[in-house]
Symmetry: C2
């Protein structure tokens, strides 16, 4: 069997960013794929997920995962369809999800992909509310956050893939939920559509005061996926025994060196001590990979029954992925950002 005619479009890392990524850091390429051998499948990418963690993979600073090599295909999760199969467990037409990267096609031995959950209205949901971002939201909230009815939770990037799920699950658990988002339109969506109790605009000149007003009983859980000034405004409002699950720091991903002073570390340490606060970082598949069935069985009914709503921001065309990703780091997306790589 031969697919010498299968042309693959892909985006590789051309150079490592200094600070915020620019289009120059990416290169669009077209190559021909080699022939399949026994045990392999040919995948056609339908939807590519764009997520903040990818910024870390573009750098070679020490991190929890190896960086993308220069000239290597950008890493990323995607939903694909099996086009050809020489693997006994896969059939042509199967829909799978896995870390197949920023490209139109890929060849897999089946170990980096798995079937998408059954019954999804759109297969792209396997990249969002029922995929990595949804599971990040659920596990961090439930395992580290330990939510209790009547408590107050704050989550930033509240209209985004993780924050929107954190807040809606916390509402289901009986908490008072305050979102933080950028701009009036996102805040309105968070309250009117997602059902948060309030949402504070971090672009407001009086952001810290407005957050304090919204949290009149203090903060018991701060789900941290942003860092930066939201964190600063949250710290003075923390209640005794507050919990801070930490899954992302998008506000500082582009920083190249420690910001100038004052040094805020001693103040944080004092707050952790006097308020007896727990803060804990986690990487969802490393720390909770074995609990995916628990996550799916909790989340799938909520999504089906409309208790957890989910918004996608769909960009068409692989060639537009770099610009969309740059916008993601600036908060320009509205909802879970995915790239439609193929129409069918």
């Amino acid at each position: 069997m031969s697919q010498a005619s299968t042309s693959n479009q892909r985006i590789v890392l051309a150079s490592r960013p200094k600070g915020a990524p620019t289009p120059d850091n990416f290169r669009f390429e077209q190559i021909n794929l080699p022939d399949l051998v026994d045990g392999q499948i040919l995948l056609k990418t339908l939807f590519l997920s764009l997520d903040p963690y990818m910024r870390g993979r573009m750098s070679d600073a020490p991190s929890y995962a190896a960086p993308v090599e220069i000239d290597g295909v950008m890493t990323g999760g995607a939903v694909s369809r099996v086009e050809l199969s020489l693997h006994p467990k896969f059939q042509e037409g199967d829909l799978v999800v896995g870390a197949t990267g920023w490209q139109s096609h890929s060849i897999s031995d089946g170990r980096n992909v798995m079937p998408i959950p059954a019954g999804l209205p759109s297969p792209s949901m396997a990249l969002g509310v029922l995929g990595m971002p949804g599971m990040t939201a659920y596990m961090g909230l439930m395992d580290i956050g330990q939510p209790k009815a009547g408590e107050t939770l704050v989550v930033a990037a509240a209209s985004g893939a993780v924050g929107s799920v954190v807040g809606q699950v916390a509402k289901i658990k009986g908490l008072r939920v305050i979102g933080v988002a950028g701009g009036r339109e996102k805040c309105k969506y968070v309250v009117d559509e997602l059902g948060f109790d309030a949402c504070v605009d971090h672009k407001s000149a009086n952001f810290a005061e407005e957050l304090a007003q919204a949290c009149d009983k203090g903060i018991d859980i701060y789900y941290e996926n942003v860092g930066g000034k939201v964190f600063d405004a949250v710290v003075p409002l923390l209640n005794a025994k507050a919990r801070i699950p930490l899954c992302g720091l998008i506000a500082s991903y582009n920083d190249q060196q420690a910001p100038s002073g004052p040094d805020r570390l001693p103040q944080l340490q004092r707050t952790l001590l006097t308020k007896r606060v727990r803060i804990q970082g986690f990487i969802v598949f490393d720390d909770y990979g074995d609990r995916q069935p628990e996550f799916i069985s909790a989340m799938a009914p909520w999504v089906r029954d409309g208790k957890v709503k989910f918004r996608e921001d769909v960009v068409d065309g692989l060639e537009n992925a770099p610009q969309a990703f740059i916008g993601l780091l600036e908060g320009r997306n509205f909802g879970k950002l995915v790239v439609r790589v193929a129409q069918d």
Copy 2:
């Protein structure tokens, strides 16, 4: 019944310190105690405990406990003997421990004291290895530290009341234990007498490098009771899924404002995320008060069998408490600091 002749010597807070406390912040007084009424006991202080947390009580910044009022008696734990009793549960001669303050005598309704554990070689041990510092060491290590045999633990102030117990319990649990202490004499004691695997002198010009060499497999638990430069040297050495129980920050207790930059907070946040670290502050009696029986039943046999050793630094005379406390904040004590207020 009257004790009009009972003269009480006491040390009150004369003024709030700006930065490090000075002798001017304290005032020695002598007053006559009022008569006992039914339900009260008259206590004679034998040993007063001096502990770093008292620095926090001298300030009126928001904290987990109310500050000492100006002209109020300095708060502190002490071992006392019942001199007179109009309370059915106490008899003259009973030895009790409780927060009776920096004074030679006190009147109690019995609610702020309890009997000292039976069979202590010296009653002052109820202020140390079998008291608040020992329980702070034990609960933070066991509940937040979650020690596992073969892991590496680092603890600062390793010859002190808390650090010495943390390290010895960790050795009992099969960990590799690295202490940090100030000066050659303390380091020698920590290794030769307490049985730590190594001890690094934080006064060394190459402290960070020497700590890294001693922790050749990284750090799984950092028991934080100091803050400052020890914390800075520890952060780059943390292993994935490290735990940091946080019970004190003596290095910054005298700070009046945030130190100048660089701002180290973003780097700490990144480490928490990429290494999936848990850091958690705690206040021993608030968080673990109900687990005191578990602590005593574990620690008492270790102390009796010599598996946990304990050193006291005894200062004679209540009038010397202020100077001894100022020295404690500078690390001038060697072992658990107590003041012998009365000879019998």
